[in-house]
Every structure is written in C-alpha cells, then in structure tokens.
C-alpha cells in the first residue's frame, strides 16, 4: 500500500518538528549555562565570605565606591579605542591591497618590495614597532603624536598580515572572469579594476572584519606611548593613582569585552548578508 501525499507530508512535518525541538533544547541548555557562568563570575567578585569544612573562604571584594567614581572616566576611552581601530584598519586595508597586488605582480621590484615589507613587519614585535614610531623617529627629526605613531604602527603591522588575505581574495576570483574580460579586449589594469577587485573585496570583507576585531584589543598597546587616552591608558592612570588597579583593569576589560561582542554581532550580520548575496551558478 502506498502512502498518500498528506501522510507523507505529516511524516515530514513530524521529523521537522523533532529536529526543531532538539535544537531548541540545545539552545536552552546553552543559555542556562551562560547564565550560571555569569552568576558565578559575579559571585566571584562579590566579596561574600563563606565557611567550607570549617575553613574561612572569601571571594574577591571590589571597591565599589572607586568603581562608581571612575568607571565613566575609563569608559570615555572607548571612543578613542574605536577611532584608533578604524584609522588603523583603513591604513592596513590600503597597504594590504597594495601588498597583495605586489605579491601577485610579475614585475620583480613590486614583488620584492611586497615580500620585503611582509618579512620585515612580521619579523619584529608589534610593541617594538609602536615604540619605534613614537620614540625613535623624533631622533630623525620626525615627530609624531602618540596617536599617529600608534595608527602608523598598527596599520603597517596589520597591513602586512592582511596582505595574504588580499592575495587569497584576488586569487579566489574565478579564472574564467579574467578570460571573459580578456576576450572583450580589456587590459590587465582594466581587468583588475573593473572585474577582479570588486569581486575580491567582497570575499575579503569577512576576514577583514575579524582583523578589525582583533585590532580593537591591540590598540591597547598604544597606551605605552603615554599620550593616547584610550581605554587601557585611562584605567592604568586611575588605577595606579588610587592603588586600585584590580578594579580599574577589570572595568577596562569589561569594556573591551562588550565592544568585541557588539562588533562580532555586526560582523556576523555582514557575513550573513554577503553569503546571501553571492549565489553560485
């Protein structure tokens, strides 16, 4: 006996809803676990004392008066942290595009320059580069403010790492696209500008987003210049002055964490939208 279409339909629905229920149960479990972890974290910093097996334990107690008084001063560094990241990622994107084109170039000096740049930057520490731009350049008569020294160092550094992303993005564009463009008589420059790069840039937006999120936290290194009032610098300033570094650094950490989560959500949205836009034939 064959099943009717309605029977088959209800069977499919049952399988579907079973699957959905399983997923919902998993999500619920995950969210509950998050809540427990979060409560534990709060508890760990609550300052509550408790007795276990006759021993006296105490959780970490924080100076709430200090926090209430200073959180806003530290919070004001968020804007500078974001500004530093945006400027640096912009510089890094431009440099990595040039670097990626250089790495793919058949013109020896361009290839050599790009390779040299990557090797030099990846071969030295980021912290050294930041301090170098701030402290060493004045000796050569080039005086940069802490902000521009930081942006230059971060941009150059991330640009070198992102070069490989750009190179991969350019190479990922189907060879048929170049051939079609050649066949209608386009030259190499036109092909790059009109056909390959518009498609490659679309591909590299998600990984560049990741780099941006990583960079948000690396901007804290710029605090060593002592003249850029971003998150970490502000928290160190008030923390040291009041012998409350524990509280001050925790506040900065929480802000870094929140910005990262927010930008990760933005990033996931962009990625989803791009994935929907690109349909392979």
């Amino acid at each position: 006996m064959t099943q009717t279409t309605t029977e088959l339909q209800s069977q499919a629905d049952q399988i579907q809803s079973l699957k959905r229920r399983k997923q919902q149960r998993f999500r619920l479990g995950v969210n509950l676990s998050y809540a427990v972890l979060f409560l534990l974290l709060i508890y760990a910093f609550s300052g509550i004392k408790f007795n276990l097996f006759g021993l006296q334990f105490s959780t970490i107690s924080l100076d709430t008066a200090f926090i209430a008084e200073n959180w806003y001063f530290i919070f004001n560094g968020v804007w500078l942290t974001i500004l530093l990241s945006v400027l640096s990622i912009a510089l890094a994107t431009v440099l990595s595009l040039l670097g990626g084109l250089g790495r793919l170039s058949k013109y020896p000096p361009a290839y050599a320059l790009a390779t040299f740049y990557i090797s030099l930057i990846r071969g030295t520490p980021l912290l050294l580069q930041i301090i170098f731009f701030f402290l060493a350049l004045p000796q050569l008569g080039i005086r940069l403010t802490g902000l521009w020294a930081g942006v230059l160092a971060l941009g150059l550094n991330y640009g070198a790492y992102m070069t490989e992303i750009m190179r991969a993005g350019i190479q990922a564009v189907d060879i048929g696209q170049r051939e079609a463009a050649l066949a209608i008589g386009m030259n190499q420059g036109q092909i790059m500008r009109r056909v390959v790069l518009p498609q490659a840039l679309r591909l590299v937006i998600p990984p560049i987003g990741n780099q941006f999120i990583a960079m948000l936290k690396d901007t804290s290194l710029i605090s060593v210049t002592g003249f850029v009032w971003e998150l970490l610098w502000r928290s160190q300033k008030v923390g040291r002055a009041n012998f409350r570094s524990l509280e001050a650094l925790l506040i900065a950490a929480v802000f870094y964490w929140i910005i990262t989560i927010l930008f990760s959500i933005v990033q996931a949205n962009i990625e989803e939208r791009l994935a929907r836009g690109v349909r392979t034939t």
């Binding site: 079609a180 066949a183 209608i184 009109r194 498609q199 034939t281």
Partner: protein, 253 residues
C-alpha cells in the same frame, strides 16, 4: 573570396604534451565551422589560440587582416594581440558573466571600458543586443537571477556588443540543462542566418548537421577531417571519425 581567419602551422605544448600539431586552415567570411572530436583532442585549445587566450608556441593566426605570429613579446606585440581580440567575440562553456554587474552592465562593459563609448550610446547598443537575444526585459537582472540559458544568451550579447568579425563558441551548451539548450541554439541559428562568421566547438550534432558549412574533426591534436557535414557524416574517410560518429549516434538513440 579571401579568408577572414587564417591559421597557419599552429603548434601548442602544455609542458611536454603536444596538444596542437601543425594545424592550418582557413575560414571564409560568413562561413560556419563546427569543430568536433573526442575530449582531449585539442578542440578548445585551438579555439582559445585564435584569440590568444592560450599563447601558441609556433605558427600564426590572422583574423580580418590582423596577423599575429606566435612567440612575440613587448608592448607592440601586446597591442597586436589586443587588436586581434577586438576582431573576435568569444562565448564560454561556463558563461563567465561578471556577477557584480547587471545583464546590461555586462553587455556595455566592453564598449564603455575598452572602446571608451559614452554610457548613453553604449546603453542603446546594449539594449539592442539584449533585445536580439530575447532578454530585453532582463536588462537589470543580475546573473545569479538568470537561468543558465539566459546567462549564456547575455554572454552572447556581451560578445556581440563589441561588434566582432568572427564569433568563437567554446562548447556553448555543454553546461546547460537539456531543456535550456534550445534557446541558446536558437540565438546561434539567428546569427548563422545573419551571415556571422562562426567557429564552434560543440557536441550538438543536430546543430552541426543543419548549420555547419564545414566540419573540422580533430583527434590527438590534428585535424583529420575537413569537409562539409554530408560528406563527413555519411562518408567519413578516417577510421577514427567513423568510431567517434558511431559512438555519438548510439548515444543519440
């Protein structure tokens, strides 16, 4: 009548593999040539050498009086290849439309970017050619919103918009679902009737038989038959042609 395409002593190697062996032939204006043969026989490579998408190692290609010898270099040589490409339009097996441009954007890209035509004029020409392939209503659609058959017709319009003297088709229907092949062949038939010079690599024996003026049968990098369809289909000279046609016709039954 002088030939519009002249291929002379063409040889091509992929590393040590000799894929084209001393190929010479001519094509007269308005002639329709179908290149057939088993896979790996060098059909596509031959077609791609004609507009220098593959660089031949020896020999020469001339299209509409623009002659390029194999193995040159330098700016002047590149300019010559460019001039040669402007004489030809090419349609690919996998369409290769630009996915970030609309159908119209694809068609006017050549005229605007390569020829420097004003957008307005190019748009008129582009609309005309899209109309011609039956897709006037799809001007603003992106390739991802078009069926395979529609994409291939846009690709044909894109090639035609450069107003080439010779059209090269590289297995234009091989990537299409059977029910979409007809619409592409229909456009090609229209071009045949308008007197376009065409070189087509294809497995469509129906099209070949009806419209080809001449068939080149290739095997192992050589042209082993060169004649009108009746002669080749009904009276093949070479044993390998017989075997190939036998295999194809069995498939068709």
């Amino acid at each position: 009548m002088t030939a519009i395409v002249e291929v002379n002593g063409l040889n091509k190697y992929f590393d040590s593999l000799h894929v084209l062996k001393d190929i010479s032939f001519e094509v007269a204006p308005a002639e329709v040539i179908c290149v057939i043969g088993p896979s790996g026989s060098g059909k596509s490579t031959l077609l791609r050498c004609i507009n220098f998408l593959e660089q031949p190692d020896f020999g020469s290609i001339a299209v509409n009086g623009v002659k390029v010898e194999a193995g040159g270099s330098g700016r002047e040589y590149k300019q010559k290849i460019h001039d040669l490409r402007l004489q030809t339009g090419m349609v690919f097996q996998s369409f290769n439309l630009f996915p970030h441009m609309t159908a119209l954007g694809n068609v006017i890209e050549g005229p605007v970017t390569v020829k420097g035509m004003p957008i307005q004029e190019a748009t008129e020409i582009g609309a005309h050619f899209l109309e011609k392939v039956g897709l006037g209503h799809k001007q603003d659609s992106y390739p991802s919103r078009l069926s395979g058959g529609q994409q291939q017709r846009v690709a044909i319009a894109r090639a035609l918009a450069m107003q080439p003297k010779v059209m090269l088709f590289d297995e234009p229907t091989s990537a299409l679902d059977p029910e979409l092949i007809g619409e592409v062949l229909g456009v090609m038939q229209q071009l045949v009737e308008e007197g376009m010079t065409m070189l087509t690599v294809t497995h469509e024996m129906g099209f070949t038989r009806r419209f080809a003026h001449r068939i080149l049968f290739m095997n192992e990098g050589r042209i082993i038959e060169n004649g009108p369809p009746d002669q080749l289909f009904d009276n093949p000279e070479d044993e390998r042609t017989k075997i190939f046609l036998g295999a194809i016709s069995r498939l068709g039954e």
